[in-house]
């Protein structure tokens, strides 16, 4: 059955995550008629039927353990994960790409880590620094005004440190470090490694009267019922829906962008995922923000006589330069934290302190940096708590194992006596790393799926080796006894698989040369001026900073450009 939406919209926005939510909010605010199309269902963390925040482990029969449907635990708010029931993807030869997708209003911003880092001036011009990859067609000065507005509009805690490549912002005050973080700070100071307050989009102070102030439950990954953390749905989309300018289509999967004889978009065709019926929605402009790989997939599936290799793909670059952050991690046992005094140290989600890249310009055998995220603390017991209960006895010359009430003492003795570090680094984008349409496989709705082709280069592998050395030094300087073994060359030094850090970007990169890029610096397709990309597809390079703050700043910038172009009657 094919239905046609009655309304002709000014803008059709595909995807309600970080990029789509920001575009919806800004464009609706400018008075445009917006259709927001989301493949997943409506989601509200405050709705008792969907709430997982503040639940105790015994409210779940598996005590919060992960399942295939909730890979990050039973209480994680993501509806989606590494594998979706009806939407497969495939990997080409020698590729083990991981692809995390959310199917819900707000996309992955419901359960993301809220680490909100601006890119710095060097991050937009990496080619100038190391001669690898390409520069962005824009620089920090172009994005800075949007980061500034974003800080004030969405809210982010942090601190002004005057660092050139980790720029200052309009920060809310930071939460104080926890005890294990003080040990990390002490160790890092002794090695002259800098440490600063983390930067997260969590409201440690009131930002406006709509949203609450963080009550420190540490559970942003479950999504915040009082909207004190940033989720696209709660912070951007709900207010936009109230304005009456937005029609929200949930459970609606865009199959392709429809184009006319002039090659410009006329709308999108979609499938209702609940009943399989088809819907066509028409509009003056289309903004794709389905996440970098999904947007590439939609474009590649939008074939027409004018766009025979897929919409926006006259350069053959759609899907290429796909890249993710690198990652590696290590943990240690901290004897100083045995037999702790127990108090509530939940704090905000994740670490309160971090180390940004501190070796810029040093002579290393890899070219790009990484930052360090710190973990530990007296978290809430959930499935897995108490496993290998007294394994640290090994370091105390005592026997591991046993049974009986003495295990209770072991539990208390080692509770919270752990310090961990996770590194997140920049990789060098490669044309040869890409996603494409699998020629034979389709999803439940008959839409061709993506096939990934991705290998790390020596840069990332050498960087991972450096990460391992750094983590060992820092953990030991904090007084830690290293756990596990240090991964060597045979395991790529513990380097994560591509996609695993969930910072995939670059599939529709921006540039001024239409032969080597897909969009201009406003995310506007070179090949169809009324189609825009507002997700991380446009990234030329993914810095050693998590991508979302930049996705939103650029989406806002694209929205301003659309409004301006419409006002000038160019769209």
């Amino acid at each position: 059955m094919l239905a046609v939406a009655q309304q002709e919209y000014d803008v059709i926005i595909v995807g309600s995550g970080a990029g789509g939510g920001m575009a919806t909010n800004r464009l609706a605010n400018a008075g445009l008629r917006v259709a927001l199309i989301e493949a997943g269902g409506f989601y509200d963390p405050a709705d008792e039927a969907q709430r997982t925040q503040l639940r105790y482990p015994w409210e779940s029969p598996r005590r919060g353990a992960s399942t295939r449907r909730r890979p990050f635990g039973d209480y994680n708010s993501c509806i989606g994960g590494w594998e979706l029931d009806d939407e497969p993807f495939t990997n080409g030869e020698n590729t083990d790409f991981r692809w995390w997708r959310a199917r819900m209003l707000g996309g992955r911003t419901n359960h993301w880590g809220r680490i909100s880092l601006r890119f710095g001036p060097l991050d937009f011009k990496r080619y100038d620094v190391d001669g690898l990859g390409d520069n962005w067609p824009i620089g920090y000065e172009d994005v800075k005004p949007y980061y500034d507005k974003l800080d004030k509009f969405v809210g982010v805690y942090g601190s002004n440190e005057g660092l050139y490549n980790d720029p200052d912002g309009y920060f809310l005050p930071a939460p104080k470090p926890r005890l294990h973080e003080l040990y990390y700070i002490k160790g890092a100071r002794s090695l002259n490694v800098p440490v600063y307050p983390m930067r997260k989009s969590v409201l440690t102070k009131r930002l406006n009267n709509r949203r609450g102030v963080c009550f420190y439950c540490s559970q942003c990954s479950r999504a915040c019922g009082i909207h004190a953390d940033f989720s696209s749905s709660t912070v951007l989309i709900y207010p936009a829906l109230e304005g009456g300018q937005v029609d929200l289509y949930t459970n609606t999967m865009v199959r392709e962008v429809v184009t006319g004889d002039d090659g410009r978009a006329t709308g999108v065709s979609c499938i209702n995922t609940l009943d399989g019926s088809q819907l066509e929605i028409t509009g003056r402009t289309v903004v794709l923000a389905a996440s970098a790989c999904s947007t590439a997939r939609i474009l590649l599936n939008s074939r027409s006589p004018q766009h025979s290799d897929g919409l926006g793909n006259s350069s053959g670059h759609v899907g290429h330069y796909l890249h993710d952050s690198t990652g590696a991690s290590r943990a240690a046992f901290l004897p100083d934290l045995m037999d702790r005094d127990i108090y509530n140290e939940d704090g905000t989600t994740g670490g309160h302190v971090y180390t940004p890249w501190w070796l810029e310009g040093e002579n290393l055998d890899f070219s790009r940096g990484y930052h360090l995220e710190i973990g530990g603390g007296m978290g809430m017991p959930s499935y897995g708590f108490g496993f290998a209960v007294n394994q640290y006895n090994e370091f105390l010359g005592e026997r591991v194992g046993g049974y009986g009430n003495s295990l209770r003492d072991d539990i208390r003795r080692f509770y919270g006596a752990r310090l961990s570090i996770a590194c997140r680094g920049e990789s060098v984008p490669q044309f040869s790393n890409y996603c494409e349409l699998d020629p034979t496989v389709v999803d439940k709705w008959g839409i061709p799926v993506l096939r990934f082709n991705y290998q790390w280069t020596q840069h990332e592998i050498n960087q991972a080796r450096h990460m391992q050395d750094t983590m060992e030094e820092l953990l030991e300087a904090a007084g830690g006894i290293l756990l596990g073994s240090k991964p060597g060359a045979d395991r790529n030094y513990g380097l994560t698989q591509p996609g695993e850090i969930i910072h995939e970007v670059g599939t529709t990169r921006m540039g001024s040369d239409r032969k080597t890029s897909v969009t201009n610096s406003f995310g506007q397709l070179h090949d169809a001026d009324n189609v825009f990309v507002a997700d991380a597809g446009t990234f030329v390079s993914q810095a050693d900073k998590n991508p979302t703050w930049t996705i939103m700043a650029l989406s806002w910038r694209t929205s301003d450009y659309i409004i301006e172009q419409m006002n000038q009657r160019n769209l």
């Binding site: 002004n160 439950c217 108090y343």
Partner: protein, 238 residues
């Protein structure tokens, strides 16, 4: 979980045929021949999708472990974390049912648990002439002493050691994720509060202090409710 709730109880008979009964009026069998535990709920409501609700309901409807296996697991969990403690133990925390649920939830747990129970019985029969639950208390503890320590090298005991470690993991996790486990640990979190740093006496105990410069960047909790404003130089002024 309330001990006064009706307990679930299985008969430990040498025929291996347990009978579910309520202990409320179970005067007939001697306590030594019965094992009882606090039952767990068999339905939950905590923000599930329709697919997840269906999946969990299917798990609850399904049975995988035999009564003999359940009894053996109950006896083992009770040894690992006994109930002779003010904060209760494994059976008070409904451990057998928790293990059963996890085994149904995770395909890769099924065989290790089934095979582990069977190994335990083989070992008990070979050494003491009856399956694990039907040898004497002292003999059971003798078996546990052999397999509770992973540093034991005896190749013959390795499957048992592995199984015991797994059951210890499940027992502790199943217990410490209940209210009584929280009490035993003294866990303080998962409740709205205002984090204002590590308590002073804890800092003192660890010889730690906050750097003054760092504290200046931190939230003044007395003004957390005052709406944030900044000057043009990115300084917070409220």
């Amino acid at each position: 979980m309330n001990r006064r709730e009706t307990l679930k109880s299985l008969l430990m008979s040498s025929l291996g045929a347990g009978v579910i009964a309520s202990t409320g009026c179970a005067g007939s069998a001697s306590p030594a021949r019965r094992i009882s535990w606090t039952p767990l709920p068999d339905s939950y409501s905590y923000g599930r999708t329709a697919e997840e609700k269906d999946y969990d309901a299917r798990l609850f409807a399904e049975s995988y472990l035999s009564e003999h296996e359940l009894v053996t697991i109950a006896v083992l969990c009770d040894i690992i974390l006994p109930s002779d403690h003010p904060n209760g133990g494994a059976l008070d925390a409904g451990l057998p049912e928790f293990v059963e649920f996890m085994v149904k939830d995770r395909e890769n747990y099924k065989l290790p648990v089934r095979g582990g129970v069977a190994w335990l019985d083989n070992h008990a029969i070979d050494n003491f002439g009856a399956d694990f639950v039907n040898v004497s208390e002292q003999q059971r503890l003798q078996i546990c002493d052999r397999i509770a320590w992973p540093d034991v090298q005896d190749p013959e005991l390795q499957p048992g050691i592995r199984f015991f470690s797994f059951m210890r993991d499940l027992t502790l996790t199943g217990y410490y994720t209940t209210e009584m486990g929280f009490r035993d640990l003294g866990y303080q979190g998962n409740t709205p509060n205002v984090w204002d740093g590590v308590p002073q006496h804890v800092l003192d105990r660890h010889g730690m202090s906050y750097e003054a410069e760092w504290l200046e960047k931190c939230v003044d909790q007395s003004r957390r409710d005052v709406i944030a404003e900044w000057d043009d130089d990115m300084n917070l002024i409220t």
